[in-house]
């Protein structure tokens, strides 16, 4: 059973953007293909075309030399093309079995036997009669995969499948995909994660701005070469020069800070003590859910601690709200860009206006000073290379990377003395991560201080002057960056003791 899929000169043009520009690709069964590209490179458009969700403006698709007419998702299904979308296409309130039976002509009894056979064969453990909303993300994805397998797919397309999975679930998924590939299913794997391409795929096509810029075998590639192809320029290696001007000028001093939450799902903070000097970056590492959220909220003033003190330039600020703290030139970039840092349904300039300082004069007698806000927003967009200059654009249309640049820009344009950021590069592609890291290094060099709470150890080791680990709401001893290595971090994060 040899399957050949050919994409020939496919173009899709949206107003103001060429999503796919003359894309031609050849795929053959027995191999796992990666389609690599940054957010907005056109990968998702291409797979939506392959699955019949949207129609191309130009170009053809051939399956085993037969021209396919894919005008609806049904056509893709009938031609044995299976697709697992990044955002699951499941009905949350229906049971697993109902989800699987909805587009199937077989009678329920036969279908149940068929599904049970598939579950057994690939060792998937899913209860067919529970509603989808009770399942974990990994299980939901398995349901999607089973939905494809029921139809004996020749082609299986996975769109950024690991973005919602835990590490264990990712490993399981890779094993399954390799198994499918051995059984002759052609697998197309869409991702922006370089490591996954190298560990899973045989061939890789890189897309950039709607075009295929390179097709190669993964054995001939390495992380840096793929990254450069994806970005289209050589990534500047970020080099943190150890801040030598740690003059000891104290910016922030946190002492004997405790936080007891009434919410059983929150972590209590126990006796937090640290100081932060001018021009320094303090990294706080830890496995997510060990109190990072609570620490960020207390430092930013979203919640107040039960006791203890936070002193900013020797002024007590622990009872101030975020707005008042901002007036002292502190800036905050929360983890959740969409719901905490920005309001997605508001326009860019409106989101900028949310950060309203006494000195910024955005409002006059309670009315919007639109000109002023828009000028200010334009300055942010250009200074922080957000890829639009339209301040009237709704923020929800920005990609994650651009939204993060906007948020950082909004926080930094007032030249704050201290930036507290929480997972600033979470979910971003390599280019955006690189930009944000550069920005953070730059503000350190300007003598501003940073508290970087992150679950990404590479990032912490790259950017921090000193590092502490948070575990079950307690901070470890603060170590200088030179004395820390990944192994030591890992040990501390897991609660192991190091002296």
């Amino acid at each position: 059973m040899n399957t050949k899929l050919k994409v020939s000169k496919v173009s899709k043009i949206y107003p103001g953007c060429i999503a796919n520009d003359n894309v031609s690709l050849n795929f053959q069964s027995g191999k796992i293909y990666a389609l690599l590209g940054e957010n907005g490179a056109g990968k998702s458009t291409l797979v939506k075309i392959l699955s019949g969700v949207i129609n191309p403006d130009k170009g053809q698709i051939f399956l085993n030399d037969k021209l396919l007419k894919l005008t609806s998702p049904k056509d893709a299904k009938n031609n044995n093309i299976g697709m697992v979308f990044q955002h699951f296409n499941l009905f949350e309130t229906l049971s697993v079995f109902e989800n699987l039976s909805i587009d199937n002509e077989k009678n329920n009894h036969q279908l149940r036997i068929l599904i049970n056979n598939i579950l057994k064969k690939y060792n998937f453990k899913i209860d067919l009669d529970v509603p989808i909303l009770n399942l974990s993300a990994g299980q939901k994805q398995k349901v999607e995969i089973v939905r494809c397998l029921i139809r004996n797919p020749k082609v299986l397309i996975m769109d950024e499948p690991t973005s919602v999975l835990t590490e264990q679930e990712t490993e399981d998924l890779f094993l399954s995909l390799k198994k499918f590939s051995k059984e002759g299913i052609l697998i197309i794997y869409i991702t922006h994660k370089l490591k996954e391409v190298l560990s899973l795929c045989d061939e890789v096509a890189v897309m950039r701005k709607g075009k295929v810029v390179s097709i190669s075998r993964t054995v001939d590639e390495e992380l840096s070469s793929l990254a450069n192809k994806m970005i289209g320029e050589n990534l500047n290696k970020i080099k943190k020069i150890a801040s030598n001007n740690l003059s000891g000028e104290e910016i922030l001093k946190v002492s004997r800070l405790n936080f007891n939450s009434e919410d059983p799902y929150e972590v209590n903070l126990v006796d937090i003590n640290f100081t932060l000097n001018k021009g320094e970056c303090l990294g706080i590492a830890g496995i997510s859910g060990n109190g990072q959220n609570e620490l960020f909220q207390i430092l930013s003033g979203e919640t107040l601690s039960n006791n203890g003190s936070i002193k900013f330039r020797s002024k007590e600020i622990s009872k101030l709200n975020p707005k008042e703290r901002r007036e002292y030139l502190m800036a905050f970039s929360p983890e959740d860009r969409i719901s905490q840092a920005a309001v997605p349904s508001l326009k860019i300039y409106e989101n900028v206006a949310l950060n309203n300082f006494k000195t910024s004069n955005f409002f006059e007698k309670g009315l919007f000073n639109e000109r002023k806000i828009k000028d200010h927003s334009k300055k942010i967009l250009s200074n922080f290379s957000v890829n639009t200059d339209n301040v009237n654009l709704k923020s929800q249309f920005l990609s994650g990377g651009n939204l993060q640049k906007l948020i950082l820009g909004r926080e930094l344009i007032t030249s704050p003395e201290l930036l507290i950021c929480f997972n600033p590069t979470w979910g971003l592609d390599v280019g955006a991560i690189n930009y944000i890291h550069q920005t953070l290094v730059k503000i350190n060099e300007q003598g501003k201080s940073i508290i970087l709470i992150s679950t990404n150890n590479d990032e912490l080791l790259q950017l921090s002057d000193r590092i502490s680990v948070i575990n079950k709401g307690k901070l470890s001893k603060i170590m200088s960056a030179e004395e820390v290595n990944p192994e030591k971090l890992g040990l501390l994060m897991g609660g192991g003791l190091v002296d």
Binding site: K48, S51, V53, I54, N55, S72, P73, K74, K77, F85, F88, N89, L90, F91, E92, T93, L94, E98, N99, S101, I102, D103, P131, L133
Partner: protein
Amino acid sequence: MNIDINFLGILIGAIMASSVPLILAASGELITERSGVLNLGVEGMMIIGAISGFALMVITDNLFLAIIGSMLSGLLLSFIFGFLTQSLLTNHVATGLALTIFGIGLSAMIGKDFVGIPGKQFPLLFVNLKEAIPFFGPIFFGHSIVFYFAFLLPFGTNYFLKKTKIGLIVRAVGDSPLSAANQGINVLLVRYCCILYGGAMCGLGGAYLSLIYTPQWIENMTAGRGWIALALVVFATWSPLKVLVGAIIFGGITILQLHMQAMGIRIPVQFLSALPYIMTIVVLVIISRDSRKIKLNTPTSLGQIFYKEK
């Protein structure tokens, strides 16, 4: 004692009859909402059903045609709603409210010439059994065909939603129209059908009032029943059988409080009049308090505008 029991039977029969329009309209609206469409035009569609049924009865002298006509007029009105919300993507809430206002106004205009015309006796089934069996007779027999249809409808609706493929598709569309479209389901077609079905049932509910329950045309004769039907659907958490329970409680307390008023019990009339609304909501909230079930029954996409990517 015998007389008392028979009176009780007649009372229960009357309660059931009074809940028929609510059951019909609420069952129809339930299907519409299960597909993710919130049509607040129930009152408007009912009143249009009432006047067109009555007018057709007067003009053609044919009750069958009158019933069919009332359903068609409800369906026509809901088609306007469907076209606006599904094809032109207008807001469900605003469009539904407009539909109600439109229906009330239009029915008053059509109805001008029909005020004061006496209705016609609607054929009742099993009348001899009603007399013959004490207590149960007046409850179960001597009603119109629409009555029996209404009481079977919630069971049918329940079966349709839970056991049939099309019912599954309706629920899927209400859960996530985008996923449904990506599965190759024609979301617009499903939603249109559900809207039209809801409209027809509301029309029938209205016609029951003007042709069977109080056979005459009175302006604004639905008197807020459409809104009650809407509330029933929500408080019954989109479960057809709970809608039935709610409708009977509402009808029951409405009739009981009328009797209490007639008996001169010293409770303020305003309180008695408000009682059916309060009790129905209290009971439905109590029987639907399983939050897991609520989550599973609530159409997630309710009231959201859906459009397909091109």
